[in-house]
């Protein structure tokens, strides 16, 4: 394996959980719901994924369990903010706290156990190709799934009727309601999708990235995913680019340090957030685009009155 190849591989691994979680949140926010509980759903996904793999002996069933875990928490959130019309910001933050506590409780039995690793695929000949073989044909299955997901979400949002309806709900729920779109149901499905993605991102951490369970192992990645959605101005393919940029910055920083090039680690830890602020500044310079990109009803409560 060449040095270059190794760097790319590491970047892809670091970017994948960010990308998956960001895509889920992107869809949720496109429907007009702001779910700040990504971190909480992610950590619950990490623990249910780990537990699922340990109990069944299959990392693939672990992946399924991680999605179910994330969805369960998202379902609770959906009930609170859609059915009971609770404040989305407060409920989202509460969801993060709940997730962190709940995951510790579920995970107690699994501390100190090595996990089952989701193996990288290996296609004879193709994977052994020099330079590009490992990067293109030697990743774990979720890496391919994440790229496919970005393309699918993009096509769904901008090329299908259902995607149009979802965006309509997020942009103007009153009009969408009058046109006969079921606002609450659409939003609930979008919230569930977001939960499944966050859970999957967590499962990626505990099954592929570092196959182990330790409390708090998401370590703030949910917040980076949230920042990534804004950075990408709610566009799925931009989110993919952003995830690889964020991952790349992190990994290159480590390589620079190991080479003896002094980089202040604090600065690079803050980089995703700085980049997001910069992206916001650039976006807001163009009034029309800013209005066009962000879902107009984001965070607003909708109560159908008839």
């Amino acid at each position: 394996m060449t040095g270059f190849e190794a760097v790319i591989l590491t970047i892809v691994t670091a970017a994948t959980p960010l990308l998956i979680a960001a895509l889920g949140e992107l869809v949720t926010e496109r429907s007009g719901v702001l779910n700040l509980g990504v971190e909480g759903m992610m950590i619950v996904g990490a623990v249910t994924g780990f537990a699922g793999a340990q109990l069944t002996g299959s990392p693939y069933l672990g992946v399924v369990a991680s999605m179910i875990g994330g969805m369960a928490l998202a379902g609770l959130f959906g009930f609170l903010v859609l059915r009971l019309a609770a404040n989305q910001v407060a409920s989202g933050l509460a969801l993060t706290l709940l997730g962190l506590g709940l995951s510790g409780m579920i995970g107690e039995a699994f501390i100190g156990q090595p996990g089952l690793k989701l193996e990288r695929i290996h296609i004879p000949f193709l994977t052994d190709l020099p330079v590009v073989g490992q990067v293109l044909f030697g990743q774990d299955p979720l890496v391919y799934a994440s790229v496919a997901l970005a393309v699918c979400v993009s096509r769904f949002l901008f090329r299908t009727r259902a995607g149009l309806a979802l965006r309509a709900v997020g942009n103007n729920h009153g009009s969408a309601h009058m046109l006969g779109v079921h606002v609450i149901r659409t939003r609930f499905l979008a919230v569930l999708f977001g939960g499944a993605c966050s859970g999957l991102a967590g499962g990626y951490l505990s099954l592929a990235y570092t196959p182990q369970w330790v409390e708090g192992m998401t370590a703030g990645r949910g917040w980076i995913a949230l920042a990534l959605v804004v950075f990408a101005s709610w566009m799925p393919l931009r989110a993919a680019v952003g995830a690889y940029l964020f991952g790349g910055a992190l990994i290159l920083q480590f390589h620079a340090q190991a080479e003896g090039i002094p980089v202040p680690p604090q600065f690079l830890s803050a980089l995703p957030y700085i980049a997001t602020v910069a992206a916001l500044v650039i976006l807001s310079r163009d009034r029309w685009r800013a209005r066009n990109d962000s879902p107009a009803c984001l965070g607003q409560v909708f109560v159908p009155d008839r």
Binding site: L205, T210, V214, M217, A219, G220, L250, F254, A258
Partner: protein, 354 residues
């Protein structure tokens, strides 16, 4: 009738203090992280369980996890003091000022603060000399490395961590004077993903021995995946990389906690400062595995020499990176120098972040 009731109540109230003497000693613990970190807090909790094991009914333990360093800590500590704890262990550096503050208000409660330096009549401090273990793993690293390069995943540039890096390299240099050490600062105590990424970067750059001063088993796990070797941190991490884990530096607080609770039971507790290492069984090496017999035997011999005081990892001559002589030939660095260490020894290929 009423009078009888009142009398009975009085009698009970009077009897209460007498009953108290037979009450178990209440020992409380304030943790900075979750017990499930399988590292720092986990080991402190193992110490708490050891107390329960040792004293049975004579002790009652309480604990609270995930206490943030700052005003929250003061509240948590005070709550234990109010609930009648006899001794409160606060197990993170950042709990220092809250502990001292609460201790002033509760002169009858005994406090034990880990890794700090502020003491009072009812506040003792304790810490462990992890650097003793680091010297040994440095020697093992230099003997086992084929590339002559080790990777170090480091958290924050504080004296505790710098001391560990220096001790590791001094150990390695005692075997191979040209041994190289690559360091990556991840700017966190605990983030398995980042720790894994840093380990990968170090291995990609030629390190074939991985060591760490962060809390998760990720770096040694990556070492195992990539077919190189490494060491565990804080607790035995052999399960995460069975073929790659040479040994681990284990924090063992059990003996200290048992002795302090015993002192409370005996009424002989006094404030003081304990900085214990191998000799006090506060730092313990995990079993030496996957090593040639002579290397394992040498490591055990060095452990015995440090334990007996025959050898000190920071024995001169020690030069810093600029070549200034810091510890003269044949002398030992004193505790003051060790506690405030903010310079690298010669040979570290890194600039200390400010």
């Amino acid at each position: 009738m009423l009078r009888a009731t009142i009398l009975a109540a009085f009698a009970m109230a009077l009897a209460l203090p007498a009953a108290r003497a037979d009450d178990p000693v209440k020992a409380a613990f304030v943790y900075v992280g979750p017990i499930g970190d399988h590292g720092w807090t986990y080991q402190h909790d193992q110490g708490r369980l050891a107390i329960e094991e040792a004293f049975g009914d004579r002790v009652e333990t309480l604990y609270v996890e995930n206490v943030a360093e700052g005003p929250d800590a003061e509240r948590a500590i005070e709550r234990f003091a109010r609930e009648g704890a006899d001794i409160v262990f606060t197990t993170s550096f950042g709990f220092m000022n809250p502990t001292v503050k609460v201790a002033k208000r509760f002169p009858d409660v005994k406090f034990e603060h880990a890794t700090g330096y502020k003491r009072a009549d009812n506040v003792a401090t304790y810490s462990a000399r992890f650097y003793e273990g680091r010297y040994i793993i440095g020697q093992i690293a230099a003997k086992m490395s084929k590339s002559g390069v080790a990777g170090y995943v480091a958290s924050f540039p504080i004296p505790e961590v710098v001391r560990g890096i220096n001790s590791f390299l001094l150990g390695a240099q005692s075997v191979n004077p040209d041994f190289k050490l690559k360091i990556v600062w991840v700017n966190t105590w605990f983030d398995p993903g980042k720790e894994a990424d840093a380990a990968k970067a170090l291995i990609d750059q030629g390190a074939d021995i991985m060591t760490q001063h962060t809390d998760s088993p990720a770096p040694v796990q990556i070492a195992g995946e990539r077919g190189v070797h490494g060491f565990g941190q804080a607790s035995d991490m052999d399960a995460f990389a069975p073929a790659a884990h040479y040994t681990a530096i284990i924090d063992d607080w059990s003996a200290y906690y048992i002795s302090r609770v015993q002192a409370v039971l005996d009424g002989t507790w006094k404030s003081g400062d304990v900085w214990g290492g191998f000799a006090e069984d506060m730092v313990v090496m995990a079993p030496y595995t996957d090593l040639p017999e002579d290397v394992a035997a040498d490591a055990a011999a060095m452990e015995a020499k440090i334990r007996s005081g025959e050898f000190h990892p920071f024995t001169g001559p020690i030069h810093d990176q600029e070549g200034t002589l810091r510890v003269a030939e044949g002398e030992r660095a004193d505790d003051g120098m060790l506690l405030g260490m903010d310079w690298y020894v010669k040979g570290v290929d890194d600039k200390l972040p400010q």
